[in-house]
Subunit: 339 residues, 2 copies
Amino acid sequence: MRKNLGRQTMKLEHPPSIVGHGTIVGKKEHDGPLSSWFDDYCQDDRFGEDSWEKAESSMQEQALDKALSRAEKTADDLDFMMAGDLLNQCISSSFAARSRNVPFLGLYGACSTMGESLALSSLLLNGGFGSYAAAVTSSHFCTAERQYRTPLEYGGQRPPTAQWTATAAGALILQADGTAPPYVTHVTIGKIVDKGITDANSMGPAMAPAAFDTIFTHFKETGRTPADYDLIVTGDLGSLGKDILIDFFNDEGMNIAPNYDDCGVLLFDAEKQDVHCGGSGCGCAASVFAGYLLARLKNRELNRILFCPTGALLSPTTTQQGESIPSVAHAVVISNSKD
Amino acid sequence: MRKNLGRQTMKLEHPPSIVGHGTIVGKKEHDGPLSSWFDDYCQDDRFGEDSWEKAESSMQEQALDKALSRAEKTADDLDFMMAGDLLNQCISSSFAARSRNVPFLGLYGACSTMGESLALSSLLLNGGFGSYAAAVTSSHFCTAERQYRTPLEYGGQRPPTAQWTATAAGALILQADGTAPPYVTHVTIGKIVDKGITDANSMGPAMAPAAFDTIFTHFKETGRTPADYDLIVTGDLGSLGKDILIDFFNDEGMNIAPNYDDCGVLLFDAEKQDVHCGGSGCGCAASVFAGYLLARLKNRELNRILFCPTGALLSPTTTQQGESIPSVAHAVVISNSKD
């Protein structure tokens, strides 16, 4: 009965295919190095809505529509949708889904949410629950900034370790018992790791230990090494967290640097775009994966990647109460072959 | 491959058993009619912590410990834990889990979260992913009140349609391929339903249409009727929402009233305890189910129940922006037999 390779990792017997993807980003993300890989962008961060929160919901809807149209499906074909975002009570997701008539499961994993939704959707489809599923996440610089930090108009200064919350939404459509690549072949569910970082402007260092724990466990439980992947890519550790993760693996005698990157580093040109340590937010890993990385898998530049979105599970209240930052990372293998 | 009875309902081929349960409540919940069914309570709503938020995390930890000890397991035996709560960024759950060394999946379904975690955990175990899982949720009157409404010290008046957020945590331990009752036999995943209610103090009327949609779909997809259940129990529609749900079913020619109740109605003595329409919060359905209803299943007063926690997916921001209240409900069948 039990099918795990280890406590945290499962190899999917019936790997689902990713049959549709959609990405919608803001102007700043469009101006970055991955510009040409995104489906659409908006000039004014409002997407025609009268609040940023409504704009973020609209981005999720548009990303889902794009992904469904690529899959040649409608929302009625979906057996379920898993979605999440950074806003209090995950409103971007539930408001985006309310017009869709789709069985809905809300998730919260902060910026790891695309990893969680891709992992859980794949496990459910592998278990025979449904034929098609959607995994959707988003973030928005303006909604996140005013919720977590200060009003935009205040113009608060950002320390060098800070990251820039991406205005971006990504959607993926999964098909059970996939017949065409890319496939989701393995899932590693992460534990919460908290090494005592208390600076809410230093997310990379807070999340790097969680990414290490999940990826190292993945190697241990699958018997694989970094060389088995064309690319290992974390969610949004940013440049500082990326360096720390490389160091952690060096300490274990493993050099991941040659085939490792981070979605937060890939999304922006840190120097020209003034984003300090790079991008972050649920939409960062979602859009970089659904836009750029999936395209590189499809054109066979990459054939097997370990995608590991990372999340910092703090809130402004916990920071005010002096708490450190618990973090989590979930890893998913996406491959052009079924193993 | 595909095992659904319908788009939303799955019959579990390998029903997991509920092998452990734990419930921790506040003083007011302890003073209510279900007092004797809870494991422990706290006099001062702080549980020895220096903030209400930390107290809510502590309640989750204590409920999980109690459930694990009943199951004669430790956290190291768990293959994963699914948890959620009402607080921004679901901090009660992630902070409770960070000391546990357990693969963690955070969920957000507002007060429906125990339905979502029980459903998803059961589906994963049924699919062969792991041997033991925990489903945990909580809410706390003081953390919820200051987050969603006004500071407690303000003493704001509550309209008659309001409900009282329960100070309560519930935890369940599930065993794959269960060998002893009660079993989780069916799962129905709900859609988001929003009938345009905008009053954030009127959650019952907002959530009743979602409960109806899920339960009615459950009957349709399983071919069952209300008479097939000893008890149909919603999460926390409260007395007003309960009446509305009975009306909705009457309109369809089905009388659920004789074997229908609501956890929000059961938890408090509405008249004596001044809770207006009854209890609410992620901890309400969790504690009433894990404490009272599970005991009645175990002593065979009840043999098959349809447990349907309900959630209102609003936030203070969406209310301020004039939005209506999207709601969701997930239903789970718990039975002393495997069908």
